[in-house]
Each structure stands twice: as structure tokens, then as C-alpha cells.
């Protein structure tokens, strides 16, 4: 998994339809930013805090990579089990470091689809320091990935 030095921010620009009364009393659709726009960036901030906490637990051997991604995406074994075609208890086992060792590559591919990552992401965390851009390409049905890292154009000049 590729982690950049700066946390993701909500840059605005999203508009949604909300129904509001106009001056004639009619309830009409209005296209405008969400009422809870301020909370969206807080969500990203919270995700950043969650990531650091979970990554610490992963490195300390408290959970497996499957457990890490499940917690990061706020998913329980009950949510994941039908999506990967396994029982809840098996998914629960894969969330622990010892259980994870027993998972086959075929099963890891299924997890990769659910978390929208590659199997390679389950085994490595790459931290990019500095103002770098990256592009990820999944290969061989998400078994591997190719990552292109480049300096941002403004820095290259």
C-alpha cells in the first residue's frame, strides 16, 4: 500500500440536490454543497488518525493485514464473509496474524477485490516522503502491482 506524507483533504466542489422552499412556498430542488460539508474533511482527518493507530497495531502483531484493511474500511467479518465466499469464523481467523498465514493466494485475491487493493498491498506498506505523485496499476488479476512514482511537475522544474 502506498502512503503519502500528506493526509487526504476534501477540496470541495461537490454539489448535491437538496429540497428547499423558495419564495413562493414551493419545495424545489437546489444544487448546492452538502449541508455537512464541514464534516467531510473531519472524516478524512479521522481516517488519518485511524490509519496511524491501526498501522501501529499491525506492526505490533496485534492484527493481520486482512484485519488491518477490514478495520480501516470499517468492515466486520459479517460484512466481508459473503463477499469473499467464506464463513464469518474463517474471516475472523484471517484477521489474526496466525490465521492469516493459512490463507491461500486465491483467497487473498478475493480479499484484495473487496478492499480494492492488490495482493501485494497486503504485504508491503510504502511511505512516500516529499511531494511525489504515484500511479498504481494492478497486474495479473490483482496479484501484483506496478507503481510509478514521479516528482510533481512544479518540483521537477
Amino acid at each position: 500500500m502506498i502512503i503519502t506524507g500528506t493526509r487526504q483533504r476534501f477540496e470541495g466542489g461537490l454539489r448535491i440536490i437538496r429540497y428547499e422552499r423558495n419564495e413562493t412556498g414551493r419545495c424545489v430542488p437546489c444544487l448546492r454543497p452538502p449541508e455537512t460539508e464541514a464534516e467531510i474533511d473531519i472524516y478524512y482527518e479521522q481516517r488519518d488518525i485511524d490509519f496511524k493507530r491501526l498501522h501501529g497495531e499491525l506492526c505490533a502483531g496485534v492484527m493481520s493485514p486482512v484485519g488491518f484493511f477490514a478495520a480501516y474500511f470499517n468492515m466486520s467479518p459479517k460484512d466481508i464473509a459473503p463477499m469473499v465466499g467464506l464463513s464469518e469464523s474463517t474471516v475472523g481467523k484471517h484477521m489474526s496474524p496466525r490465521g492469516f498465514e493459512k490463507a491461500t493466494i486465491e483467497i487473498l485475491k478475493r480479499y484484495a477485490r473487496v478492499f480494492d487493493i492488490s495482493v501485494a498491498d497486503l504485504f508491503s506498506f510504502v511511505f512516500l516522503h516529499g511531494d511525489l505523485d504515484h500511479e498504481v496499476h494492478y497486474l495479473a488479476d490483482r496479484l501484483m502491482e506496478r507503481v510509478d512514482v514521479n516528482r510533481r511537475p512544479s518540483q521537477a522544474q
Binding site: I17, R18, Y19
Partner: protein
């Protein structure tokens, strides 16, 4: 790309996509009308399921796919709503229809809709979009939550379709071939409103068993609100409260937990049928929707008081527990009032619909 198809954004994905499909075949129907005729308003306090932050799931509308099916039935639409056994089957049929110039509605998992902002990438396998064209392996997607037309690869579409999670619709596709020119709007409206009232006000004999549905569900929710600080702590409490409020306002409800959308439906109906009684009822539900909006604002302010870091929670709770619980009790009482108001409103609405 199907040139005659007009992509329009909407408050809600299912009502928006259904409207776009019906508009495409020549029925100039609006989103509130689709929502109302589809008997959209509902309340389910699904205590046995959990949202990502472990709060029970609250559904503010009827189950996914119901609005679509109800509209097809009520309006006598010649078309199909079909679940496929495999994604390949669904994709083959969708390709055939798109190539024939027929836009296809699909029920997909929002997680894989890459054109949406990152915070919307959540596993919600009941998101409705219209596939309005394709260029090789790339689909043009008319998503009511996205202003420009989205682009999605065939691989992502397959992933988004092939979900066996709870509430997923199993490779659902829907399309419309034609709609009748004439409709008996009085009969259709009476039927749709009757169904809405039935969904919300359960018969007295079954209320005890279905304490999580309709008005009873709202009452249960208001009672359970006061137990939140006992059941959840730290970030789970904070996020749970914030997500509840966001769910009421900005997750495709049009604001005020769909009540404003329903008010717009009643206003439109009053004009269409020249029925003054519906104008008054519309005003009441719109007022109620606006109160719900204010309630959500208070809920957000309350949720934000909880610290973002787990380790700061104990200190916060020690100093703020009393005022936090007092505010929560007030909000719970307010929500119980909502249940009472909606019950009275729906009884009058049902009586008005019977006179149509």
C-alpha cells in the same frame, strides 16, 4: 453513447435514475413524483444490523429496488427489472441493450464508483446508476450523485455488480421500452399514498412484534438514543452520531430525511389533481422536514463535542457527561415528537387519499 439520453443529477440515486429512464422514453415525470408514487417514505430501525461505526442501521425509505418496481407497476411501464445469476449474464444483456440504444439501470456497489470522491467509497451495494453508453471496455455512467457523466471500466463494473453482501441486489438491471400516454393519476396517487401509510402505520396487532418498523420504529429509535453513551464510547460514539445526522441530511435524502422530497410530491399532486387538501398537508410535512433538518444540525453539534482520539474520551466524559446526556435526552424527546406528528399527519393523509 446514447445521444437522446439526458443525464440529470438528483437527490437520491434510485428515484433519480428511475426518473431519468422514464424521461428518456417520453414521460416528463419529476423526482418527487417518482418517490411519492414509489411509496418511498419509511422508517426501519434495523437493530440487528450495524453501520460501519457499529450504530444500528436506520433506513429512511422502503427497501432498495421498491421505488423502481412500484413505479413500473403503477405507471404500466413496458420494461424489465431483472436479477441475473452471474455478472457475465448481466453484462452481456446490458451490452446488447446499450448497443440497441436502450439505457440500462444497474444496482451496484458504490465502493467501486471511482469517479466519486474518496469519502463516498463505501460498500453500499444498493446504489442505482444508468449505463448510458459504452466505448469498448469503458462505460458511460449517469450517476445522480455526480454532475458530469462518470466513466467506469468493465472490470470495475463487474466488481461493483458481483457483490453478495447484505442488501445487494444480485446483478440487477432494469430498462424501459415504453410507457402509456395516459394515466389515471387520481387512482395511482390514492394507491401509492395508501401504501405509504400502511408501511408507516402498522396495524395495532402487529406493532409489538414489529417495534422497529414505521412509526413504532421511530419511537424505538428515540428511546434508544438515550442509551448511546452507555453502548458506545470514544470514536464509535462520535462517528455514530455524526453518521446518523449525515444519513438524515446528505446521503441522498434531499434533506430532512426524505420528508421535504415527499412534501414536494404532495405539492405537485395538489396542483395536478387540483386538490387543495393536499396543499395543506404538503405544508405540514415540509415544515416537519425543516424541523428534522434543525434536529440533524443539533445532532452534529453534539457528535462533534466527542473528542477524535480514543485516549481523550475518558477525560472528556468525566467533565461533560451530564450536559451531554441532557442534550441527548432533549433530542430524544424531540424525535419522539416527530413520531407523534408523523402518525397524525399520515392518518389525515390517508383520509385525504381515500377521498380521491
Amino acid at each position: 453513447m446514447i445521444e437522446s439520453y439526458r443525464h440529470q443529477v438528483a437527490a437520491h440515486c434510485e428515484t433519480g435514475s428511475t426518473r431519468n429512464l422514464l424521461n428518456h422514453v417520453g414521460l416528463p415525470i419529476t423526482e418527487p413524483m417518482v418517490f411519492g408514487l414509489g411509496s418511498g417514505p419509511a422508517f426501519f430501525y434495523l437493530f440487528f444490523t450495524r453501520t460501519p461505526k457499529r450504530f444500528p442501521f436506520v433506513a429512511l425509505r422502503n427497501p432498495p429496488g421498491k421505488v423502481l418496481r412500484n413505479n413500473f407497476r403503477m405507471l404500466g411501464v413496458e420494461g424489465t427489472v431483472k436479477c441475473h445469476r452471474t455478472t457475465r449474464e448481466a453484462m452481456e444483456e446490458a451490452n446488447r441493450l446499450i448497443d440497441d440504444g436502450i439505457p440500462v439501470m444497474a444496482c451496484v456497489d458504490m465502493f467501486y464508483m471511482r469517479y466519486l470522491p474518496a469519502f463516498m467509497h463505501i460498500h453500499a451495494p444498493f446504489h442505482f446508476v444508468v449505463l448510458m453508453g459504452r466505448d469498448g471496455d469503458t462505460y458511460a455512467v449517469s450517476d445522480p450523485y455526480h454532475e458530469p457523466v462518470g466513466r467506469l471500466s468493465a472490470e470495475d463494473l463487474a466488481l461493483a455488480w458481483d457483490i453478495r453482501a447484505p442488501f445487494s441486489k444480485g446483478n440487477l438491471i432494469a430498462y424501459v421500452r415504453s410507457v402509456p400516454n395516459e394515466h389515471d393519476w387520481r387512482r395511482i396517487a390514492a394507491k401509492a399514498i395508501g401504501r405509504t401509510c400502511r408501511n408507516m402505520i402498522l396495524p395495532p396487532l402487529v406493532r409489538k412484534g414489529f417495534f422497529f418498523v414505521g412509526i413504532e420504529g421511530m419511537k424505538t429509535y428515540s428511546r434508544r438514543m438515550t442509551t448511546w453513551p452507555r453502548d458506545y464510547r470514544g470514536v464509535a460514539l462520535r462517528e455514530g452520531i455524526l453518521l446518523s445526522a449525515v444519513g438524515f441530511e446528505d446521503q441522498g435524502t434531499g434533506g430532512g430525511a426524505f420528508r421535504l422530497l415527499y412534501g414536494a410530491f404532495l405539492q405537485e399532486l395538489a396542483q395536478l389533481l387540483d386538490e387543495r387538501a393536499f396543499e395543506g398537508l404538503a405544508d405540514r410535512i415540509i415544515e416537519h422536514g425543516q424541523n428534522w433538518r434543525r434536529f440533524s444540525g443539533r445532532l452534529i453539534a453534539l457528535g462533534k463535542r466527542v473528542p477524535m482520539k480514543e485516549e481523550a474520551f475518558d477525560a472528556f466524559w468525566k467533565s461533560e457527561a451530564a450536559s451531554f446526556e441532557k442534550e441527548l435526552r432533549e433530542l430524544s424527546d424531540r424525535f419522539a415528537e416527530f413520531a407523534f406528528l408523523e402518525e397524525r399527519f399520515l392518518i389525515e393523509l390517508r383520509a385525504a387519499a381515500r377521498r380521491l
